[in-house]
Symmetry: C2
Subunit: 121 residues, 2 copies
DNA sequence: GGCTATATATAGATCAGCTATATATAAAAG
DNA sequence: CTTTTATATATAGCTGATCTATATATAGCC
């Protein structure tokens, strides 16, 4: 049971996860990475080489905004979600919910062993 | 709201869907395609060019087994799930549930508009 | 000074799913 | 009976999100 989630499964929902994290509060990349890892019991282990290109893409799409902060020793690039980003998040979340319900219906019959829940954030 | 689910979102779970359909009863490709479309209110519209390679892959992996049937006019390739396939399905379904729970926790705060449920199969 | 953790960046590889196309034939339309 | 449509499967080649590997830079610790 232990081990990370198959990355193919995460494809298409990582954008949404990042936007979701930023919808709660401003973050910089390295912290988001840890936050995701912690919130998922190490099951979602987003690699730096995956995360930073996603952030750049989201910024190019104007869904997030960045600013460098060098005041506290280390220089960090802080990100905020934009109004367009919040709309996008809402749209993606609805699509996600819809898809999940479809799968749940299909899987209705499948016998699942007891599974541990993700830690609450 | 209408429109098909973004295919990037389905990546990684199509295998599981096919196995899930076959876990209920034997099927041939063309019928699976329609079944998926109907069960998802046209939102999951798996193209033939996607479906058949998946079936070949699943068969190569010994998760499903096939036999041609030419008795009823049209020739059709019927598929059955194997014991290994059922194990694989169970494994993937658990991973799916785990991942869904993680996402749900992350999305906890996101405001969702009322959404239509998938038609029950 | 050397090592580890922090912090960001990017080129290149991988592969699931898509598009487009091909083949074949039963059934329906004309 | 010929044409069209729906059924049924197959596959070559494209796309793009994610991964691997690598690079840079520096704060903090021993």
């Amino acid at each position: 049971m232990t081990g990370t989630i198959n990355s193919e499964l995460m494809r298409g929902s990582l954008n949404m996860m990042i936007l979701s994290i930023l919808a709660e509060e401003s973050q910089y990349g390295y912290l988001m990475q840890q936050k995701l890892r912690d919130a998922s019991r190490e099951m979602v282990d987003l690699k730096a080489g995956t995360l930073y290109p996603i952030l750049h893409r989201l910024e190019a799409d104007k869904f997030i905004r960045s600013r460098w902060d060098k005041s506290s020793g280390r220089k960090r690039k802080w990100y905020d979600i934009t109004v367009a980003g919040k709309k996008q998040l809402s749209k993606q979340a609805i699509e996600w919910q819809t898809y999940v319900e479809c799968i749940q219906n299909l899987l209705g019959q499948v016998n699942l062993s007891p599974k541990p829940a993700c830690r609450q954030t």
